[in-house]
Assembly symmetry: C2
Homo-oligomer: 510 residues x 2
């Protein structure tokens, strides 16, 4: 075989693989930086992990969303944790203090919805549902503590468990023990009558115990040695809560507060669930461990969005966004067409699964933000005063981020297909206008060797912002999806060419 040489250009972040004797040369962009340690300088890099997924056979508003079944939103570094109050991600993107980022929440929900459809049926073990009448697996910490089967006053054919013990966190609690690795998603229905808490005990690889406490209160996430706290909200007492926790994700996010990513991974890999404990006075039912509970996470996201939607039908983003510092900035409270669109895609699916009208109503209300100009606090801009564009980042001047615009169109598509009457007409009009824009402007993002992330160069007069391969791949996956809902050959031919660009093929020159 021929000898090969590998070179790279520091400035251009370009890796060149060249056949020494032959004529072949391949060029890849790599991402990385020069790192100095151990007395050596190294260029540490990674190629994009993103990939172009095979084109699915069809797309439907109740089906898998794009290739989101491959997303693990909650594991991303910029997710601080899934909050105890809502079970949705808290983002540290653009602010270390954290904010509820509707795009991330919608993607979290859509990824779990897609995993639900794509993945194997989860394994489920019910630890307690009160129906057997046997509570002997529960261990009481002292003689004053009590556990009893009761009839559910709301559903009299259902039995539940009443627990009563000290609310003090030093109290080990009323406990059910196990040694579980694979079924690490805990779900249960619980109602705290007094103050109380729920604790999951983990046995770590070093043989120590680690405690995750779900407490009444507004603590987001708090770590003290081997005690980790998640707040269920200060208003959680006195009402039934349905709680679904990926215990190992909660563990991971807690550890990440105090140790490196690689150490966290090692701890997480070797941890096992040892026990579940209840404190205070309350009712509990359906205590379950499962390999996954995708639909529950999905509905956590959908319910969050229904409950947090504002009067204008929007989900404002409460963090300042500096797309280009001092030039393209958004003050906290901005709407994103991508946030609106992804939320609509999620809510439409929640409606399809649940038939609950509230989800469809929320999706339809979300359309109103598309009618408000970005200069007036909305997301609508017009390219050349002619083509309606829905802005992921509604900056002034406009930024025209491609992937966010397409996500917004997919939301509109989902809704127009499922809604009826006025809602359908509204979504259809917004979708049709947006698709006309996309067809006219799509190739403005074609660089001849890749794609542009946005059109800031046209509005700011500076250098074009080339999309890194991660985003280029998103563009291709989006076009492949669009080709399933619109037979304009523009989408297939462009996706084909953009895929070729990743192999180093360029568009022709004159």
């Amino acid at each position: 075989s021929e000898p090969w040489a590998i070179h790279f250009s520091k400035e251009r972040k370009m890796l060149i693989v060249a056949n020494i004797r032959g004529r072949e040369a391949f060029l890849y962009s790599v991402y990385g930086s020069i790192e100095s340690y151990d007395g050596y300088e190294r260029f540490e890099f990674q190629h994009s992990y993103s990939k172009v997924h095979p084109i699915p056979e069809e797309y439907s508003p109740g089906g898998i969303f794009m290739s989101f079944e491959f997303y693990n939103v909650e594991e991303r570094n910029r997710v601080k944790c899934l909050t105890g109050q809502y079970g949705v991600p808290m983002s540290t993107q653009w602010t270390s203090s954290g904010h509820y980022y509707p795009i991330q929440i919608a993607q979290f929900g859509l990824s779990h919805y897609s995993k639900h459809l794509a993945g194997p049926k989860p394994k489920v073990q019910v630890l307690e549902d009160g129906e057997s009448g046997d509570t002997s697996e529960w261990l009481l910490p002292d003689r004053r503590s009590q556990l009893a089967v009761k009839t559910d006053v709301d559903f009299t054919d259902n039995s539940i468990i009443e627990f009563d013990t000290s609310e003090n966190l030093k109290n080990p609690g009323i406990t059910i023990s196990m040694d579980e690795k694979k079924l690490s998603t805990l779900s249960l229905d619980i109602k705290f009558i007094s103050n109380g808490s729920l604790t999951v005990l983990l046995r770590t690889g070093d043989g120590n115990l680690f405690r995750i406490h779900y407490v009444l209160g507004d603590t987001l996430i708090y770590l003290q040695k081997r005690d980790l706290y998640y707040g269920l909200g200060s208003k959680a007492r006195g009402k039934w809560l349905h709680i679904t926790r990926m215990v190992m994700v909660d563990f991971q996010k807690g550890l990440a507060l105090s140790m490196s990513k690689s150490k966290v991974a090692k701890f997480k890999r070797n941890a096992r669930i040892a026990a579940i404990c209840l404190r205070g006075h309350g009712l509990v039912d359906n205590v379950t461990l499962s390999s996954a509970a995708h639909l529950e996470h999905f509905f956590d996201a959908a319910n969050y969005l229904v409950n947090q939607q504002d009067d204008q039908g929007g989900w404002p983003i409460m963090v300042q966004r500096k797309l280009v510092p001092a030039v393209l900035e958004l003050d906290a409270g901005w709407y994103s067409a991508m946030g609106q669109g992804q939320s609509i895609s999620l809510l439409v699916r929640a409606y399809i699964v649940s038939k609950d009208q509230k989800y469809l109503d929320a999706a339809e209300r979300a359309l109103d933000v598309f009618e408000i100009k970005s200069g007036d606090g909305g997301v609508l801009t017009k390219f050349a005063g002619v083509y309606d564009w829905y802005e992921e980042y509604p900056t002034t001047p406009s930024s025209y981020v491609l992937n966010g615009f397409i996500y917004s169109l997919l939301g509109l598509y989902d809704l127009k297909e499922v809604a009826s009457g006025k809602g359908a007409a509204h979504a259809t009009r917004l979708f049709d206008v947006g698709m006309k824009t996309l067809k006219n402007m799509l190739l403005m993002f074609d660089s001849g060797s890749g794609t542009f992330y946005d059109l800031r160069h046209l509005t700011l007069g500076g250098a074009p912002n080339r999309a890194r391969w991660d985003y280029h791949t998103v563009h291709i996956n989006q076009l492949n999806l669009l080709s399933l809902i619109d037979n304009d050959p523009l989408f297939t031919t462009t996706a084909k060419r953009w895929t070729d660009y990743m192999k180093g093929k360029l568009s022709p020159h004159n």
Copy 2:
């Protein structure tokens, strides 16, 4: 010094120069093809010869046009010859039978105008102006032939020469001899009363004689062994002609009809002018050899354009143009905004030099074509229905060729600066609208690593047409020129970035 490796990719026409031990890698596009001969396969390539010229200190409508002083239009392969009738190039671009291509004619004129301003003062030798009264240098071929000094009937203080000999081409003619290499541009005033001809004798490197005959008639160019014919036009008899010929160019174009480029170059290099001969009955004056006669070529072009302008103010291009075969085609008779603009730049300069109003009038009439939509046979299109664009190739759908548009704007600028009254107002309006378009659309041509030649991808929905470095260089030179007439930093910052692209620097990615 570090060892270097050079690799190239056949498909991508990409040359990679990589430092074996270090980290540097440079990438160049090269142009070429795989050639097989002598039993070997070779990749024969050339880098672009074009270069980014230093930015001049100022631009004025009477000054050098861009960097056209470096152009040698008449020597290009696609110039069949300079015609005997008009002294302007006949183009074989897009048709081997040849056509008068106004863009080429204007560029020919502008290049000679620019050489006139930029170059050294030409060396001039007057062979005969009739004023000395001594005609002894002329040799008569026989006793019936006559040569005499006469008073010019039109300008009685001027003496001219009357010649009378057989018109037969076998007649060696009334001859003046020399051995001249450097002063190879012949100019003279001549009036054929009977049929007649003018012949230049060349002595070639092999010692043979070669004859270039300028004859009355419509022969464009015709070679028979060592006799080469140029027609002065069938209506040339009976009137004063001012003829200016680059003898070595005429020689080169004739030889090119029968031999390879390298052989032509060798013959041309070694040829010397041996004699000038007159036949038939006529009058002659101001027989001159010079090292260059740029202004005369310039006025040949300007006069051609004045005389050939049509009723709509245009210079129709009488050849079919297939920009994209079967998709973007133009039937013969199309106008080009670049042809109009470059002609205006030429005519404005002819007016400045001559103060002859006819040139300015022609330039102003040329504006009318800018008002006619490309679909109606003109050059005007509107991007997104909003931005007026003047089309080099007024195709349907539009093609938006950048360099042609900018050349048209430069023509409008030249005219608005020099004209007054209605003409100035008209040119100013067209220029202002066009510059607004350019500022809004310029960066649509920025690929992040080079430029696009046109925007066909946006109108046809296909791959972008990347500009080869030749055209990329033209774009940069044009922006540098625009920066002298408009202080918008867009032009300087973009020219800087586009120049960096040629060194392999890319625009940022996200």
